[in-house]
Symmetry: C2
Amino acid sequence: MTTYTAPLRDMRFVLHDVFNAPALWARLPALAERIDAETADAILEEAAKVTSQLIAPLSRNGDEQGVHFEAGTVTTPYGFREAWHIYREGGWVGLGGNPEHGGMGMPKMLGVLFEEMLYAADCSFSLYSALSAGSCLAIDAHASEALKATYLPPLYEGRWAGTMCLTEPHAGTDLGLIRSRAEPQADGSYRISGSKIFITGGEQDLTENIIHLVLAKLPDAPAGAKGISLFLVPKYLVEADGSLGRRNPAHCGSIEHKMGIKASATCVMNFDGAVGYLVGEPNKGLAAMFTMMNYERLSIGIQGIGCAEASYQSAARYANERLQSRAASGPQAKDKAADPIIHHGDVRRMLLTMRTLTEGGRAFAAYVGQQLDLARYAEDAGEREHAQRLVALLTPVAKAFFTDNGLESCVLGQQVYGGHGYIREWGQEQRVRDVRIAQIYEGTNGIQALDLLGRKVLADGGQALASFAAEVRAFSLDAPLHREALQASLARLEATSAWLRSRAGQEPNLVSAVAVEYLQLFGLTAYAYMWARMAATALAKRDEDGAFHEAKLACAEFYFQRVLPRGLGLEASIRAGSGSLYGMSAEQF
Amino acid sequence: MTTYTAPLRDMRFVLHDVFNAPALWARLPALAERIDAETADAILEEAAKVTSQLIAPLSRNGDEQGVHFEAGTVTTPYGFREAWHIYREGGWVGLGGNPEHGGMGMPKMLGVLFEEMLYAADCSFSLYSALSAGSCLAIDAHASEALKATYLPPLYEGRWAGTMCLTEPHAGTDLGLIRSRAEPQADGSYRISGSKIFITGGEQDLTENIIHLVLAKLPDAPAGAKGISLFLVPKYLVEADGSLGRRNPAHCGSIEHKMGIKASATCVMNFDGAVGYLVGEPNKGLAAMFTMMNYERLSIGIQGIGCAEASYQSAARYANERLQSRAASGPQAKDKAADPIIHHGDVRRMLLTMRTLTEGGRAFAAYVGQQLDLARYAEDAGEREHAQRLVALLTPVAKAFFTDNGLESCVLGQQVYGGHGYIREWGQEQRVRDVRIAQIYEGTNGIQALDLLGRKVLADGGQALASFAAEVRAFSLDAPLHREALQASLARLEATSAWLRSRAGQEPNLVSAVAVEYLQLFGLTAYAYMWARMAATALAKRDEDGAFHEAKLACAEFYFQRVLPRGLGLEASIRAGSGSLYGMSAEQF
């Protein structure tokens, strides 16, 4: 009952028509030799097959069967091993990886679309791949040449998989509190000891080896977050010839029983003097890990988009089939006992809310991907820096806003089904359970909001925001549609930001009291920019494929009329400040 | 790990201090003889024991074990039978029942507080009782004296339980489409045939008999909703002496596998010429069923409040214990490695949002309960009619707004826990799954919104709304706190209503396009009225119990500053109308 079709037409619209990615690739030498429009389309079509035909059919059973843990080993659900084999043979783990070590070096703009398909097909399966790809990024950016040469090729190949081991029972958001220890050895390696929790793919039966990236403290390290180092700890030690040696004492102690993503093994990992290798500088582990975390944050954000797209497809299909009551404007299917519910205003409201949030998110993910590509591949240092500043600013927005919208959309997609959405049969309830984790892991959405407002907007004196705002304003001046609404939304975001800047100094709790609403206001404005761009493109292309582009124009209209006004309430709530949050003592809660 | 403490102090605040229920009871003769302040408190204390000590401890296992179906019989989870026995011996099923037939005749104002405790303890267990109490209401209001005398006493006793059988696979919201048939028999009874789905407690092992209230069509009944009759169909036929006779062919064919409320049996019921008895007039079954449904709608709304309260208690406790990072205003627990997260602004924002929505809902439930009591027991016909008009207006608001806020609150309560909220251990994820159904069943929240705006606000020319608005305005004139904000919110609701009234005639899709946002705007205003009343009471009583009443004042402040502004965005979205929903054909979705 749960089918998923990759929205290739919509993806090409974003990639080719709205952002003209091939033109960008052509002017970036590193990418020009690897990809063009045809290659990109071929990759997307192959990705569509793998995700919709190979992975999506495993999702329902994966949820019901879950992962099984016994005597330290994890068994993934029926079909996962075979699917992983085909998936890794296709080279998908290394899609964005460094070609020097076996990666395909594909641009992130393409990567975000692939990731959306992957999460739409099945969140649990996706995570084994996403964590691995993220760990490769951290290794590639910070590890020694020797470590890179040994570990990256089999990781990109998917013969091995990577994990990120940060959280401990008493240290989640506040990693400064971790207790895991690393003892230096005479041979330059370390012995890692400690317990980590919530480790995705900490143990599994998909790959020959598992490469843990572990945060731990060196002896005499400074207290807190400044005393954290990053270590690479393989499940099996690797011999000089690349073959697997003895088992490292890095064992899975148990797995969690969760609300969703049940086919993803969430492990307690116990390191008992396991051999590890330092990645990057001593005591700079958090910064090195952030290379991976920023990548993961965008990826996890895309989990929200993928789930929402899958839920939308299912709900839209059901709304076209389910007959119930007559439309308010008169019978639409006179030969039937009732009209398809797609004709009821409230059903359309739900579907269009899902769709405009999902497509707005897809465009914004591609936009952030574009900035990531520019930050990495642009020849001009100024252009790279500008793009990097935008990436830093927009990553927390993407992670949190995509996933908040992901939950909202999946809940709406379940609601369209009425009682049938609450039972397992149609898959809509699984999507709600699966997408919910995305607001929590890789830094809760509250932490993303603090990062955005505190570090990215206020701490730099507003420079990054000003860059983004200048781009939006410049676009708006020539926007053929929705110009005033876009400018008003931008003005609201800027005025609210300025107000916060003027107040944050005197009101220490202000940032944390309003950050979440600020992030949502930011996200709404960013989507307004995306919808204005999509509308402009659709208007220009209307003659080519009328029905497709008319639908884009109609969606843009809905977004500006019915979704964007949420910003009014958010602004008012932000401007009310932190005072009303601190009228009670801790005990009065 | 999942503990629940009935918030007796807060409940007494609402019952005694805000609404002065004992004074109301004293002036209504039927109630004056049954209840006073002391009796009410004694009942609440007993209810607190039963729900928190007997039922709440069963919730986690109930979720994990679920109900078991085999060969037509349903087995409830471990402990449910024993708990039901104690529960029914306490007379709780008949708490609000008609004393002429063995009910306790307690006022609804008390009933809503009891129901909140029950849902907070465990939703699944609650449903067996709630459906039974609702079916008694329909029987009491519409059945013959003979049926009442036979069926009500054992139902109130909880020896038997009731169900409501409305939905068929092709007929949910649109009950006019049902196909179940009733054939008249020579003895005045009927033979009922047809299949019903989503029947809560359709089969179970808690009671000796199960009494189904079934919607079906008589031969030659008018088409659609005007041709529906209501029948009482017992699982076992009842002999003249009240003993159980032969098994009626009303069998459970299967049960659903659901997202939550897993200990509640959701049954497919097959009626194969089962003996049934007409309740009320032929072809007036839908009206008769609405007696039950309106009761259930308020009850299901209260499911949202109960779940939210339980989630809040758990989250507030965790936030006081969990140490993570330092407060923005400086260290709060200097002797510890980090501060309790209750000191972080975003955690307070989440907890206060939960709390103000939950306590606003509790007060509003008591307010609607008060109107129900007046509608039933007031001596003056005008007073009864006025109250009945308010009940009709406010019931859809209660059902939908309570449950929307219930999901929001349970999601926030899970978010406070971070990753620990996503795993089963702490119970927060179960509450999200359990509360989610409440937005769907007993008429989806979209249907509640249509009922509110279409039937209750626009169809009567705005009389009911004007009554409610007059009361709110009258209170606001003397409100010692939040006067302007309350008046502004009321003015926004009235202006939006007037605008809708002026437009609905020309724009047939308008009502269904904006009804959900209108209901939320209405709910926010209703809660503003509740919070202004609670603040006024707390201000007056501040000398008595400072900390308790200061907390109420602080919560009111938060509600007006940070929650109520949502109305701004809702109003703007409503005023954008239906146009942007109909720019696409059904196929373009």
